[in-house]
Symmetry: C2
Subunit: 226 residues, 2 copies
């Protein structure tokens, strides 16, 4: 008699994680480093990408652009002559507030993985649910604008905890804000001790070199692991 | 023979709407005007409330404060000596990204409705899901910070469509931003033609009188309907 094997699905996100692993296998096979870019609405993800992708040398980049509806950001990035695929989450109600692994998978047929070194997945602007869904990425960047206030790491801890890099954007506005950068960084360390951080201004270009170097390092790690 | 009556539940949000109506009945009975305050993270909802509630005369206000975790905002508002009830949505994963009618209902026992003229429900910072869930409110305010960019009404249309007032905050920063206010307002009108709008700076106090007048008007309408 064979013993019956019982397998309990332990995690409500199990289906998502299964598909995320399948995505990751595809990315690994193609030797593409994948970065999940997350932030609140209007933190400057797309403008940062315009800056960074416009100055990448030696790395072939592509973008998977997540939005509830429309293709405003994808249209902006297409002018940089990188492959951009728009993924709209909006059907029914107000649209999905995040990307999940299956949505990303549904778009992979359109992404020319064989021609890329790095794929940036720009998530829907939201500080909650995107942090809950892996999509097969190698690393996650969380962009926080200084205009959003010092308390955000404490109010949205999972987002700050679930990332490998915190980009603090719009620092050109610091002189005009009541924003205590040390206090903010203290809060970041409270939820994700020692997580790397880069200060940027997508407007002036400050910090863009550091962000580019970080992307190159992620890409080099993926190539080395292949 | 009796004819069998078939009732089809038409709307996946039906349960939420049922509870929202029950909340509304309670609010109406108490003669309390209820406003659902929504925005992206860091748009300035709490600072606006500090300004407005600190200067309300003749209206007794209370706040139901929605956050994933912590009570940072509630603590700030409590110093204004208005009744503040904290409602945390965070359990499991990263927490619920919005308030729904049942969450609000679960907190009503703590809210002294009999002592209030206006109850402000400060929603979780998110431009997507809060717009999908009525909680029994009389009106909804959507706060958009000028630092978030001109394209937000087009990217998060349901949020801008589901409100009775758009507050455009942080206008003190306009001289330091590449933000075309006319273009933003044009986008607002594209998704919600003619919706009332108030320009504010929670920092300088500009526009706070107008916001207070708007709240008084909503309250007067509720009293008149009672």
């Amino acid at each position: 008699m064979h013993r019956v094997k019982v397998r309990v699905v332990e995690d409500a996100l199990d289906a998502n994680n299964t598909i995320a692993r399948a995505n990751r296998d595809d990315f690994d096979r193609a030797g593409v480093a994948v970065v999940n870019l997350m932030s609140a609405p209007g933190a400057g993800k797309t403008t940062l990408l315009e800056r960074v992708l416009g100055s990448l040398e030696g790395l072939r980049a592509g973008v998977l652009e997540g939005d509830i509806e429309g293709s405003l950001d994808a249209d902006r990035l297409a002018s940089l002559h990188v492959p951009v695929v728009q993924l709209n989450t909006g059907s029914g109600f107000g649209g999905e507030c995040h990307l999940d692994a299956n949505m990303v998978r549904s778009a992979l047929g359109e992404v020319p993985l064989g021609d890329l070194d790095v794929l940036i997945i720009e998530n829907v602007g939201n500080l909650v649910c995107p942090a809950e869904f892996r999509v097969g990425e190698n690393a996650r960047i969380m962009v926080s604008s200084v205009t959003e206030g010092e308390d955000k790491p404490l109010k949205y801890p999972l987002m700050f905890r679930a990332c490998e890099l915190v980009v603090i954007n719009k620092i050109d506005l610091l002189p005009h804000l009541d924003f205590d950068l040390d206090r903010f960084l203290h809060h970041v360390d409270a939820v994700n001790p020692g997580v790397p951080r880069i200060l940027t201004s997508a407007r002036t270009g400050e910090g863009i070199d550091d962000l580019r170097a970080w992307l190159e390092e992620v890409s080099a790690r993926v190539v080395a692991a292949a």
